[in-house]
Amino acid sequence: MTVEDADRRPPVGGARPTPDRERYAGLFAQRTRVMKSSAMRDLMALTERPEIISLAGGLADTTLFPAEDLAKVLSHMAAESSARALQYAPTEGMADIRPALTEVMAAEGMTVDPDEILVTTGGQQVIDLVCKTLVDPGDVIIAEGPTYPGAVPTFSAYEADVVQVELDADGMRIDVLQETLARLDAEGRRPKFIYTIPNFQNPGGVTLSLERRRELVRIAQEREILVLEDNPYGLLRYEGEALPTLYQLDGGRFVVYAGTLSKILSPGIRVGWTLAPAPVRQKMVVGKQGSDLNSSSLSQLMVAYYFRERDWHDYVRRQADVYRARRDVMLDELGRHMPEGATWTTPQGGLFVWLTLPSYFDTTDLLARALQHNVAFVPGRAAYLDGRGGQSARINFSGVHEDDIREGIARIGAVVAEQAELYASLTGSTPPGAGRGRGAAPPGAAGDVADAGAPIVPLRTAGRRRGSR
């Protein structure tokens, strides 16, 4: 019996009332069939318990934001612009916020016309609007493997066929991208867009090298495929030189740029933006009208006041200092507690480290064990749509204090060691010792690019320089 049969089966028991389950199932859209319950998602819900050290989040540490600054900015806004803050706003975004977003773009190395910015409700809405504009059921989206776990439900909701191109220490592998495009050509399928986070990728932690950025832009231009460049963490760089964005290299012809204030100011205000070729942007505006009419006026004005009255650069620098120290602690602790055969990335910025354990680990099962020890991470499968990622995990260092990072990694290490010992006993092998993992370049050497990048599964090329010049 198929699912369709189950959804459309007449109520059990003839004239008796329709059970709730079937009453609603019969109304669901086809696309909801991919929106399933999963053990992993339910386990993730447990990570919010207060006793748990959660390295599963992707949070900016908002405790770093001075409360008095917020109070002042809000009170000025209330005094001067109360009516507008409480009113609807244009779908494209308010004029007031445009200088602020233009400043952020300039800090990322881009000069843009403020009028071309479409203000969105977080960067997440850009992903949604791009899909809404471009994707019909069955259309191909190319994404990195692993990709941003939060994009997975969006891609699924639009019934996209997501093809994931693996990463290595230099970001998305362009050779694999080209193979993939050639294969799709042979199948007569043209991808609608390539989704990438070039800086400190979520969840991989790696950065797309300059050479690959150029290649990616060239491919997009030659093939006339759009690239969605998601850049939430670009300004949170802890070492190395900033690289030009794809948008900058392309001149805005085939690259749709997604920006957000979630990581450099506040995720709670839900302010993001996009720059896109005009015909695409116009469709996105219509799509946004249908979604939410406009992004919060209150938030947009708050940002405008904040940028006018405070040194936002300084706040970003302070956050970067704190996150850099937390990253260093995490990398140290991984070196101390992870067994031989484990690898992890050394991010030059951003919020995440991608940890890969020996192949006999399944990190969804491991999370169940870890929760018993009051520690949590994101199982790697959350970052794939094709079932891969089972031996990897995303661990966050930005939202957790240094002592908790130490304790959290020690607990994960203990659980990994316990399971490694079990596996050795199941297979008659020798359990690996702790502190023999790879990829944990000491903080001082973290910029030593030849040694810094551990592979993202599966590794096919090694020894390339990563993320510089």
Binding site: D7, V12, S38, R41, D42, A45, F361, D365, Q419, Y423
Partner: protein, 312 residues
């Protein structure tokens, strides 16, 4: 009545519990009861003492809710509650213990061997996997002995699959059950009071058992199951025997397998706090018997209060 709906808890089945309890709360409010959702956490006893409910509706799955812990506390607090008592919950929750009781009572259950993580780590139990396979037959199902919702459950076709499956199961608990896999129809029999409700046959349409269980539309049901009358009677009788053998009270869900080839019935497990979500089997059985969800929750409360008289 003032009713405390116990929910949540820290177990891996917390989300399932929240789905069950939400549905129960809505139902009890529709019937005009004074309903209080009570989270099962460090403040549980204090809240129950302050609230003094007439009855507690236990909608907590997994550890604490299903292993008899919450029930023991409710006994101490002298608050009547839905479902089975602590001892029966303990027996149902641990599949190994349940199987031993089945064996003693002469209730057929698939052959199984249970081993602890320590047996593998310290006693070289891995060397016995081949023999276990020979004894109970391949393929087998490997699952944690104390875990619900099919978490950590894996199919093992031969010895080469065993290490990964055992690793998975032993992530959820320290004891694992290696059970002969019966190629059979999945039957679920609800016992309500002291009678069996119409049998639900379950046809999972998703390879992932968790997704199949809790996603609307991912599992098809046939209810009443399309069985010969003699098989239906035998399944109902067997379910009742299993219910009684473990000392259950009020209601429970008994999972059976009907071997496709031999038509033999075996009992897999008894769930003392079965799910009441929109995709759970028990409400489907009740609906087929003409008992809507509101009537079902009301009946469970009646049984809980009858239990008080019985125990007195």
């Amino acid at each position: 009545m003032r009713i405390a709906v116990l929910q949540g808890g820290g177990s891996l089945e917390r989300q399932v519990s929240l789905q069950s309890s939400q549905r129960v709360e809505e139902s009890l409010r529709r019937q005009g009861h004074e309903v209080h959702g009570v989270e099962v956490d460090a403040g549980l006893v204090a809240r129950l003492v302050a609230l003094r409910p007439d009855v507690a509706f236990v909608a907590v799955h997994g550890e604490d809710g299903e292993d008899g812990t919450v029930q023991e506390l409710l006994e101490v607090l002298e608050i009547p509650y839905t479902g089975s008592g602590p001892a029966a919950c303990e027996r149902c929750w641990d599949k190994v213990v349940a199987k031993r009781h089945f064996a003693t009572a002469g209730i057929p259950t698939p052959d199984a061997v249970s081993l602890s993580a320590a047996a593998f780590k310290r006693l070289g139990a891995a060397d016995a996997i081949g023999r276990i396979g020979e004894r109970i037959g391949w393929p087998m199902v490997v699952k944690p002995s104390r875990q619900g919702s099919a978490l950590g459950l894996r199919m093992v076709r031969g010895p080469e699959d065993a290490p990964d499956a055992l690793m998975a199961a032993l992530s959820y608990g320290d004891r694992v059950l290696m059970e002969h896999r019966v190629d059979g129809h999945d039957l679920s029999v609800t016992i309500l009071g002291d009678e069996a409700l119409p049998i639900v046959e379950v046809h999972p349409a998703d390879a992932d058992p968790y997704s199949a269980r809790y996603t609307i539309g991912q599992t098809a049901f046939t209810c009443p199951a399309d069985l010969e009358p003699a098989t239906t009677s035998a399944a109902e009788a067997l379910a009742l025997r299993a219910f009684r053998a473990l000392g259950c009270r009020g209601f429970a869900r008994v999972d059976l397998l009907l071997d496709r080839r031999t038509r033999e019935l075996t009992v897999l497990e008894v769930d003392a706090v079965p799910g009441l979500t929109h995709t759970s089997y028990l409400p489907v059985a009740a609906e087929t018997a003409g008992i809507g969800f509101d009537a079902l929750t009301e009946r469970l409360l009646d049984l809980a209060l009858e239990g008080v008289t019985d125990r007195a």
